[in-house]
Structures are given as structure tokens and as C-alpha cells.
């Protein structure tokens, strides 16, 4: 099964490109299909040759070894304040301006938990089908590092707010399709550390610099079960995490901004072996495509060592993904596991949830991506359409509104996926910026359906409405469409007289030529003839005279 999966990846690298063209890129640089975007813009010269080799190599490897992959995701919450103090939580502020004694860890300052963080934690836990701990607590995770003002991170160690859940995903068609369910071990609340950067002063050997704006920003950490078996599955899990947090509105899920961070834990084992192999952690992944490639690379690296009888060279370590070199590299090897000396945070009380509170949040959850995908499938849409429409919550809402006004489902999907998506990509807009309202799109679809206007005119109207807004009815009037039967008849007669040969062919049985005549009339009228009238009169004329 997994070999088929990989066999389809490399040859289809360029179908990735075409599907990428159909996906929108929003103004806020939200990537709808991150894996397509990054791989096309940065990797084109490099990946065509080696990847083909890689694919066959990977197939061979996967005949003998199974990869076991788990992912830890850190989600930065889009709250207005930090987790334990009221400092503003806003990306991009001037360094070290969003600080106070609490997040700076000054003596005597005490943390106070934000109610919003609990709300978001419950929301995400429910969305991931977890059991919630009605009572949970915070713990101190102690270590020394320049971006950690208190010398410890307030986190949840042994009693997280949510645990034991799962997520259902759809693997994209180009990778074999199919449904998968991945387990979620736990979700817990914690705070972020500051940012440690290299100083620009060129003096790399002496100093680094710290910006503490981010210290104390609330995070939700999601730990998955080691259920993924390939780079493709891992990337789809990551994408679904991004989709879910955006659907819920708990985070903007931008990997580039760092509001969604994924670390991968991967080991391989010979097929049939029950024990797990040695686990390696991979960090510094900036996109889902990078995640997929890093995993493929690591599987290959580890299998090679196994095959050479050097499996003991695989050690528990953290490796970084080097995007330039397209390989994982060792960070300095750790000398043993870290000892964080966890103990319960004495400055914070228990987090207590009532059943009513949980139920009210559950009732207010939006329709989640999985439910949307199943509903769209049930409407008769193909899986490709389903995956596109459900990917971005704003696009899905737009689509739902359009069909809510009675528009034909397939037409609405087609318009959104092709012309509208292309427009959004060109103009670098998001669906929420567009001037064509769902109501007008529904009108447009109806007008084409009942043959008030031709498809061609429909497209013209679409572009004008996208750019300038307005109404379909208004456009139709403006376009000066020809709806006078007398005029249309005149044009029909002219075309018929100019095409005697085709007329004869039609009369002798080639009724498909009606399309030819219709096309000629359309050409003559520059597309303005009313299609319904045209066809009605044309048919009369073609079948009548003798």
C-alpha cells in the first residue's frame, strides 16, 4: 500500500504544480496548500533528477522497513493577551516592548491564567475528539536558556487539559487518496519562550540577542500517537491541524510566522518487528512539504544504516532539516536525556471545568473540516472538489452561501475552483476581499442555467463582478444582449443562407450540426444572442423549410 503511495509521488510532481495553481494565496500570506507552494517556488531545479531516484529507492526501502512517525505541534493562540499576564499578544511589535514583571520573571510577580486560553484549549480538545480533564494543573518545566526569563516554562506535565483523541484526514488523490485516522495522545496549555537571534553586528562569536515580546505567549501543544507511516501522511496530519485551528479561530496557523510549529519524531523498524526502532527528532520544518521531504530523507538515511549493519549508529538525537541541502543534520548530540525536574506550579490554582461549560463550548463549535468534507461528498461532489472547497474555511463558507441560495452545486464548485481561484491567485486576494457576492454568483449560475445568457457572456460578467462588484441583472442590461426574436431570426436566416452545405448535411441526418449554426449566430452577434431563443428559433428554421 505504502509503495503505491510513493510510486505516485515523483511522476506527479508536476500535477502538484497544476493543482497548486488552482489554490488561492491570500493577502495575509496564508498558504492554502503550503506543500505545493513551497516546493514549486524553491525546489524546481533540484528536485526533478534526484527525486526520481529517490522514489524508486524509497519503494525498495518500504518493502523491508516500516516508518513510525509521531508529530508534536505547537500552536500559538490568537488571544489578545499573553497566557499569564495582560501584555498584548501581537506579532511584529518593536522588540522588548510587550513586557511586564510577570513575563519578565521579575521577583515577586505572579502569573494569572487567561480565561481565553482555557476556552481555546477546550475548543481544540473537543475538535480533536479528546476526553477533557475537568480538573487539570500546571507544572514547571525547569531549564536555563537565554530566552526563558523565569528559568522555567509553565506547562502541563502529567495532567493535561485534553487527551485520548483522534483526527480523520483525507489523503490527497495525487498520493493515492483514501481516509486515515491518526490518534492524538494529548493537548496541553503552556507558554512560549522569547526569541533568541543572532546579532546583526557581524560579531557572531561573541553575542546573541533576545527579544522577549514572545515570552509568555499562550501555546497549545498537540502530541499525536505515532500513527503516521509516511511523509505524505505526516504532511496531511499537519495540514489538518492547520485547517482545524483556522476553522476554530484559535490561531492563524502560519508556519512562516511561527504560529504553527511541527516537530517530527521518526524511527524505522524491519517489517514484522514489534519493537520500535531508535527515535530521532527532526526540527526546523517551515512547511508541510519540507516535513514530507525531511521524513523521506530520514527514512532513507536510517534504512541505509540498517542495511549496512550499522543500525547502532542511529542514536536518539535531534536533527535539523537543512532546506538548502535537502537533508537532516545533527545538532550537537545530547549527553543523555534532559532532566526538567517537573513539579506542580505552586503559583497557579487548579484549572476546573464544569460540564456545562464544556457542553456550551461544544455546542458553539463550527462545522469542522472532516464534517464538511463528508457533507460535500454526500452532495455528489468529487473528492478533488471536496478537498479544495473544505481546505479554507472562508472558501467553504462562501460556497455554502452560494448553494444556500439554491445554486447548482457542481456549477458553484467549478466556478470557485477554476475562474475565481485563478483570479484570487493573480490578484493576491482572499475570498473575503472579492466584490462578487455569493448571492450574485448564484444569480449568475441560474442565468446561465436557464439560458438567459451564454457561458461565454457569463464568464465576462463574472470577471467584471469580481473586480467591480455590481449585479448580474445590471450587467445583462449593460451588455445589451439581444433578446428580440425578430433580430435573432434575421441572423439565423443569414447564417443558414451562407452555409448551404451544412444545411444539406443537417437535413440528411447530421443533426449535431445544429451546434455549428448556433456557433455561427453567436459569432455574428458577438455572443450577445440569447441562447434559449436562438436554439428555439434555429431548430424551427432548420426543421421547417424544404
Amino acid at each position: 500500500m505504502s509503495t503505491t503511495l510513493f510510486r505516485t509521488i515523483q511522476p506527479n510532481h508536476f500535477t502538484l504544480l497544476t493543482t497548486a495553481l488552482l489554490r488561492t494565496r491570500t493577502k495575509t500570506s496564508r498558504h492554502i496548500s503550503v506543500r505545493c507552494q513551497t516546493s514549486t517556488t524553491t525546489q524546481q531545479p533540484r528536485t526533478s533528477a534526484p527525486k526520481n531516484h529517490g522514489s524508486n529507492k524509497l519503494d525498495e526501502i518500504l518493502k523491508d522497513y516500516e516508518a513510525v512517525i509521531g508529530i508534536e505541534t505547537h500552536v500559538q493562540l490568537s488571544t489578545s493577551t499573553k497566557a499569564f499576564c495582560s501584555c498584548p499578544n501581537s506579532y511584529g511589535s518593536h522588540p522588548n516592548t510587550s513586557i511586564c514583571p510577570v513575563c519578565m520573571g521579575l521577583p515577586g510577580a505572579l502569573p494569572v491564567l487567561s480565561s481565553k486560553v482555557v476556552d481555546f484549549g477546550v475548543r481544540l480538545g473537543l475538535a480533536l475528539n479528546c476526553s477533557l480533564s475537568l480538573k487539570s494543573k500546571f507544572d514547571r518545566k525547569q531549564y536555563f536558556y537565554p530566552d526563558l526569563p523565569k528559568g522555567y516554562q509553565i506547562s502541563q506535565f502529567d495532567v493535561p487539559i485534553a487527551s485520548g483523541g483522534y483526527v480523520d484526514v483525507d489523503i490527497p488523490l495525487e498520493f493515492g487518496g483514501g481516509h486515515r485516522r491518526f490518534g492524538i495522545t494529548r493537548v496541553h496549555m503552556e507558554e512560549d519562550a522569547g526569541k533568541l537571534l543572532h546579532s546583526d553586528a557581524g560579531d557572531y562569536s561573541q553575542a546573541m540577542i533576545v527579544d522577549l515580546n514572545r515570552a509568555g505567549v499562550p501555546l497549545l501543544e498537540i502530541v499525536s500517537e505515532p500513527d503516521m507511516r509516511s511523509g505524505v501522511e505526516a504532511a496531511e496530519y499537519g495540514s489538518e491541524m492547520q485547517r482545524i485551528v483556522r476553522y476554530l479561530g484559535v490561531s492563524n496557523g502560519n508556519m512562516q510566522e511561527g504560529s504553527l510549529r511541527c516537530d517530527v519524531n521518526i524511527s524505522i523498524r524491519p517489517i514484522g518487528q514489534a519493537e520500535f526502532g531508535t527515535k530521532v527528532e527532526i526540527k526546523n520544518l517551515n512547511a508541510f512539504s519540507a516535513m514530507s521531504r525531511a521524513i523521506d530523507y530520514e527514512i532513507t538515511r536510517q534504512a541505509l544504516l540498517y542495511n549496512q549493519g550499522q543500525a547502532d549508529k542511529i542514536v536518539t538525537e535531534t536533527r535539523l532539516w537543512d532546506e538548502g541541502a535537502q537533508k537532516t543534520v545533527t545538532m550537537r548530540k545530547k549527553e543523555g536525556l534532559a532532566d526538567y525536574r517537573y513539579f506542580p506550579e505552586p503559583d497557579l490554582p487548579e484549572v476546573i471545568l464544569t460540564q456545562e461549560y464544556v457542553d456550551s463550548i461544544r455546542a458553539s463549535l463550527p462545522e469542522l473540516p472532516e464534517a464538511k468534507r463528508r457533507r460535500y461528498e454526500a452532495m455528489g461532489l468529487g473528492i478533488q472538489d471536496v478537498l479544495f472547497l473544505a481546505n479554507d474555511v472562508s472558501v467553504a463558507e462562501y460556497f455554502d452561501e452560494v448553494i444556500g441560495k439554491g445554486a447548482d452545486v457542481k456549477s458553484a464548485a467549478n466556478w470557485l475552483m477554476s475562474d475565481i481561484a485563478a483570479y484570487l491567485k493573480n490578484e493576491e486576494l482572499s475570498i473575503s476581499d472579492v466584490k462578487l457576492t455569493p448571492h450574485e454568483l448564484a444569480e449568475l449560475i441560474a442565468a446561465i442555467k436557464d439560458e438567459t445568457i451564454s457561458g461565454k457572456i457569463g464568464k465576462q460578467i463574472l470577471f467584471e463582478l469580481l473586480a467591480k462588484g455590481g449585479t448580474v441583472q445590471g450587467m445583462i442590461k449593460e451588455k445589451d444582449l439581444i433578446t428580440d426574436p425578430v433580430e435573432i431570426e434575421k441572423m439565423i436566416m443569414k447564417v443558414i443562407s451562407e452555409s448551404p452545405k451544412q444545411l444539406e448535411q443537417y437535413r440528411s441526418g447530421k443533426t449535431k450540426l445544429q451546434g455549428f449554426f448556433a456557433g455561427q449566430v453567436m459569432k455574428m452577434s458577438k455572443g450577445k444572442a440569447n441562447p434559449a431563443l436562438l436554439n428555439k428559433i434555429l431548430l424551427e428554421k432548420l426543421n421547417a423549410k424544404e
Binding site: 489578545s80 493577551t81 495582560s86 480533564s133 480538573k135 531549564y143 537565554p146 487527551s163
Partner: protein
């Protein structure tokens, strides 16, 4: 309460039976029961004299506190006393008591998500010796602990 406090002391002293790491959690562990099993295992069959002496040098290292050899000895004895005291608490039979997460009962005390700018940020920055107009300067760090 005693069992949790013991957890804290035990995690600070040298690795004994169970080194608790987040990475060892798997779906088979239920967290509440986990605390109970740890608590039970500590409270059942150990007696004070069996508890290992604290590795004070290692403790001092992890807390980044430098101690002279005589201080290590002194501290060692005092810490040993505290551990022995918890060893006495272990003798109590708590097999019929559900472990509590925390001592107090109320919980709550949550804050509204309304931003406030701390007025005296300038004095915070001014009190940092290595602050350099915009950033804190720190020595170059190669590896997380």
C-alpha cells in the same frame, strides 16, 4: 498532598525507579491512574533508610548554584533530613484515598483577555545590564540544556 510533594522531591533527587519524561507517555497510560500508580508504588514498601541520599553536586549543577565541598556536605545532611521526613509520611496507608491534584479546592481566578500596557517598561529595560537599545545581549549559546 504528601504523595505529590514526594513526587517533587523524588524528581529532584537522583534517578531511582521511575524517571518521568513526557516522551514516554503513550496511549496506554491514563494520566489520573498514572499519578495513583506512582503514588501507590512509593507508599507501599519503602522505609526511610532505603531512600537514597541526595546527589547534592548534581542538584547544585542543575540549579546552577556553586557549592564548596564543605557546603555540599552541609546541604547534603539537611536535604537528607527532609527526605527522611517524607519517608516517614510514606508509612501512612493512603490506599483508600483518591490522590488530589492540589491542596486547595476552589480553582478559578481567571483573567479577562484584555490587553494592558505595563507603564514602567523603561525601568525594566534600564535594569538589565546588557540591554542594548533594542535587544538584550546574551552570551552565545550552543545547545539547550
Amino acid at each position: 498532598m504528601a504523595t505529590r510533594a514526594l513526587l517533587a522531591v523524588v524528581t529532584a533527587s537522583p534517578p531511582r525507579m521511575i524517571q518521568i519524561k513526557a516522551s514516554t507517555f503513550s496511549s496506554s497510560l491514563k494520566f489520573q491512574r498514572h499519578i495513583t500508580t506512582i503514588a501507590r508504588s512509593f507508599s507501599s514498601d519503602t522505609n526511610p533508610s532505603v531512600l537514597q541520599p541526595p546527589d547534592v553536586s548534581r542538584l547544585a549543577e542543575t540549579a546552577r548554584i556553586s557549592l564548596t565541598p564543605s557546603e555540599i556536605e552541609e546541604c547534603g545532611a539537611k536535604i537528607r533530613q527532609v527526605i527522611d521526613w517524607f519517608g516517614q509520611l510514606q508509612q501512612v496507608d493512603v490506599s483508600s484515598v483518591e490522590p488530589a491534584i492540589r491542596a486547595e479546592m476552589e480553582g478559578g481566578n481567571l483573567r479577562e483577555d484584555a490587553p494592558e500596557t505595563f507603564e514602567n517598561r523603561e525601568s525594566i529595560r534600564a535594569s538589565i545590564p546588557s540591554f542594548d537599545e533594542v535587544y538584550l545581549k546574551v552570551p552565545k549559546v550552543l545547545n539547550k540544556e
